[in-house]
């Protein structure tokens, strides 16, 4: 654990207790079994708003607390532990970051108070194929009068089913593969021409494919610069990656704790299974991964708070390392629990499914390995 300040420690304790009581895995199970396609429980979302979680990276002038990314990470780690479903990451971290980094004063004034009070649910709709490849953005944004007309489809948009507005990178010039020519738009979810296809994924949350068929937006919908939006997009994505990595650290750490508990209690051959060295060493290796991952996640969040030069590198490192740990941990969680691990009644399956879902969001491990190499100049 990084050396947290008093406020962060308080928030962590508050979040830990609240998540366990109000939004534990059990609640996520109920949500899944209810067949609701909303993706989260409105009562849980209101409570988060109430506790001020939606304003952590919002400037004070817009009703936020501006406490920063490390503080946000502290909360996400706790929601990650219990797989709590909510638009916290998509809207209050990623959506708010897009406005904070790219929004004009007027845009911030128009949008951020709604993000803070939870009435607006923002999400970044970035991918267009079965892979995360932001430079390959092909969605068309043609000049239309004073504004633009958007045409194309975004895939696996988190909270895409319920979001009230989308942050959408689209191409105003150039061709897929170019960094130049990408522009970010803020698009209201009820705009004519938007169609949402809700996806029944094994992660049972509010994912959707969202298609834009000649959706008209005014020029006040442009976030940042026309044609020069890639830098902004990349910066927003880095915040998404670091935030998600914090959540993943929590998810994997909870899986680690469940596994360790089982190693200490399950008996076979007259001994607890944790006394078998083959398992003890695997636990030690996973513990090492856990500690390495925490260092990376915290360093990335701190780098964002300080606007450090190596922030991009550290965000790829954090998402990549959290991906490694969660991948291994979710597999070991099942394996070390034996038959019980395979039952739906036990929670392990939720962790395994969540692990693979978050792996493919905002760049998988291969994406971040490649990006890390590129950032280091090879």
């Amino acid at each position: 654990m990084a050396v947290l300040n008093e406020e962060q420690t308080m928030l962590k304790d508050q979040a830990e207790a609240w998540v366990k009581e109000v939004a534990p895995v059990r609640a996520f199970r109920t949500l899944r079994d209810s067949g609701s396609d909303k993706g989260w429980d409105p009562a849980v979302w209101s409570a988060m708003v109430e506790m001020g979680w939606t304003g952590i990276v919002v400037p004070e002038a817009q009703g936020g607390s501006d406490l920063g990314y490390l503080t946000f990470g502290v909360l996400l780690e706790q929601t990650g532990r219990e797989l709590t479903a909510s638009p916290l990451l998509a809207s209050a971290l990623i959506g708010a970051s897009a406005l904070r980094l790219g929004g004009s004063d007027a845009q911030q004034r128009d949008w951020l108070p709604g993000v803070v009070d939870g009435s607006t649910v923002l999400t970044l709709a970035v991918d267009e194929s079965n892979r995360h490849a932001p430079t390959r953005t092909a969605m068309k944004a043609e000049k239309a009068g004073d504004g633009f007309k958007l045409t194309g489809t975004k895939t696996l948009v988190p909270e895409g089913g319920e979001a009230t507005a989308f942050v959408v990178p689209a191409r105003t010039s150039g061709k897929p593969g170019d960094e130049d020519g990408i522009t970010l738009f803020l698009v209201r979810g009820d705009s004519a021409g938007i169609e949402r296809q809700r996806l029944a994924t094994f992660d049972a949350r509010g994912y959707a494919n969202v298609s834009f068929d000649g959706v008209e937006v005014g020029k006040d919908a442009v976030l940042g610069e026309v044609d020069g939006g890639f830098g902004l997009l990349d910066a927003v994505l880095d915040r998404a990656r670091a935030g998600l990595a914090a959540e993943m650290l929590g998810t994997a750490s909870a899986a680690f704790d469940m596994t360790l508990d089982y190693l200490q209690t399950r008996k076979q051959f007259g001994a607890v299974i944790g006394s078998f060295q083959a398992l003890g060493h695997r636990a030690a290796a996973l513990y090492s991964q856990k500690e390495l991952t925490r260092s990376c996640v915290e360093a990335a969040l701190e780098a964002l708070d300080k606007d450090a030069d190596d922030a991009a590198q550290l965000c790829s490192l954090a998402k990549g390392k959290a991906g490694d740990f969660l991948f291994n941990m979710s597999n070991e969680l099942i394996q070390i629990h034996g038959g019980i691990g395979m039952t739906d009644e036990f929670d392990a399956g939720f962790y395994l499914k969540r692990a693979r879902a978050v792996e493919s969001l905002y760049g998988n491990r291969a994406f971040h390995r490649d990006r890390y190499a590129t950032l280091l100049g090879f």
């Binding site: 654990m1 944790g274 006394s275 060295q277 003890g280 636990a283 030690a284 990376c296 190499a373």
Partner: protein
């Protein structure tokens, strides 16, 4: 700025000025010549002057108390000193010249030694004048160290030692030895062991260097045939050498986690790779499989160094060592061994270098570190023993086969 920070910055200025005045510019950046594992070149001329000045100031052992020849610095001041030395191209050869003296024996004497022992042993270590070796392992006592059988008998005013040690690093060039010996053969395995210190310059001690796969002979078989140790050179309580010896190994681990700086940073591996393997038109390494594995390694390496900093930050003002510290020896080992393997792979045919004109010095050195680096997962508690320790002490899993 807080007062603590102001004080640190004042110390930085002091260190910088002192280095400016005392570090001979002709030695700048020449750490490797004087920092080899065996202690490097015999000191003459300016190098000798430099070590004398460093010792005079106590900055060869910056955090040791000044009454025993140390610098009396806080850990943060020592870190500042290290930064300033690095930017001046300076280096501290004293730890290597003292063998195991600075990193292991000294800190243990500071903790367990009598006042007389501290006065006698610490200042010569701090000056880099006396080299120490460590007699722990025996042919039949490796990971299971407590089964050691070298014995010491009370002969009134001194101890008489008989038996054999093995893998004793630097034994043939050391002046003193700290050894674990059995002083009560009837007691339980761990209960009859004591920690004795004695000079290597005596008739009853014989050393035979062992040649390693790297070609070097950094360690020996060491034989004791009625060797002597003074009565006053028993470190810690009689028959409780196991506790003392374990504590010393913790210092050893701390010195092997990458926290120690032996001066000079190797060129980034990706630059070496670009030089040997070449790049494609987009500037990417020409071998995409290697590029991916290199990135994986560099990420692991960064994760390790971030963990080192985190553990250090968490340790400040906190008496309990962070549990994360337990992983560092193995992660450091992983990183170093993978780096060495990748370096050889990058060099390709040139990575078969042993000696001679067909190879550059850089290539020969890479091969040497690759071979010698295999030892990292064996000494100081092997890779498997480290995992046993994590499983047992950190994760609380029961000890059956998880010994160590």
């Amino acid at each position: 700025m807080s007062t603590a920070n102001q004080d640190l910055e004042a110390f930085r200025a002091e260190a910088r000025a002192w280095l400016e005045e005392n570090f001979p510019k002709s030695l700048a950046g020449r750490a490797s010549e004087y920092m080899a594992m065996e202690g490097g070149k015999e000191l003459t001329g300016e190098a000798r002057t430099w070590v004398e000045r460093l010792a005079e100031r106590g900055w060869g052992t910056p955090t040791w108390p000044s009454e025993y020849g140390g610098g009396g610095l806080s850990a943060s001041q020592a870190a500042v000193l290290q930064e300033e030395m690095r930017s001046a191209g300076a280096f501290n050869p004293i730890p290597l010249r003292a063998g195991m003296g600075v990193t292991m024996v000294g800190p243990t004497i500071l903790e367990y030694g009598t006042e007389e022992q501290k006065q006698k042993h610490l200042p010569p270590i701090a000056r880099g004048e006396v080299r120490w070796c460590l007699g722990y392992s025996e042919p039949n006592a490796g990971s299971d160290l407590a089964s050691l059988s070298t014995r010491a008998e009370d002969a009134g005013d001194h101890w008489v030692i008989n038996g054999q040690k093995v893998w004793t690093s630097g034994a043939d060039i050391s002046d003193w030895c700290g050894a674990l010996v059995r002083t009560d053969p009837k007691a339980g395995k761990r209960d009859g062991i004591s920690f004795l210190m004695f000079t290597m310059h005596q008739e009853g001690v014989e050393t035979r260097p062992i040649r390693l796969i790297s070609g070097a002979s950094p360690f020996c078989e060491t034989f004791f045939n009625n060797a002597r140790a003074d009565k006053t050179d028993l470190l810690g309580p009689l028959n409780d050498g196991w506790t003392v010896g374990k504590r010393l190994l913790q210092h050893e681990r701390a010195s092997q986690t990458g926290a120690m700086d032996t001066g000079g940073r190797p060129a980034p591996l990706q630059e070496l790779a670009k030089r040997y393997v070449g790049t494609d038109e987009s500037g990417q390494l020409a071998d995409s499989d290697l590029r991916s594995r290199l990135a994986t390694h560099l990420m692991e390496s960064k994760a390790h160094s971030l963990t080192l900093s985190r553990v250090a930050a968490e340790a400040r003002g906190n008496p309990n060592v962070s549990a994360a510290a337990s992983i560092l020896k193995n992660t450091a080992t992983n990183v170093a061994q993978t780096r060495a393997e990748l370096t050889l792979e990058v060099m390709g045919h040139q990575g078969l270098a042993w000696e001679g004109d067909g190879f550059t010095e850089e290539e020969v050195n890479a091969v040497q570190s690759w071979l010698f680096g295999k030892a990292m997962s064996i000494y100081g508690g092997s890779f498997e023993i480290q995992y046993n320790i994590i499983a047992k002490n950190i994760l609380g899993l029961p000890e059956t086969t998880q010994k160590g």
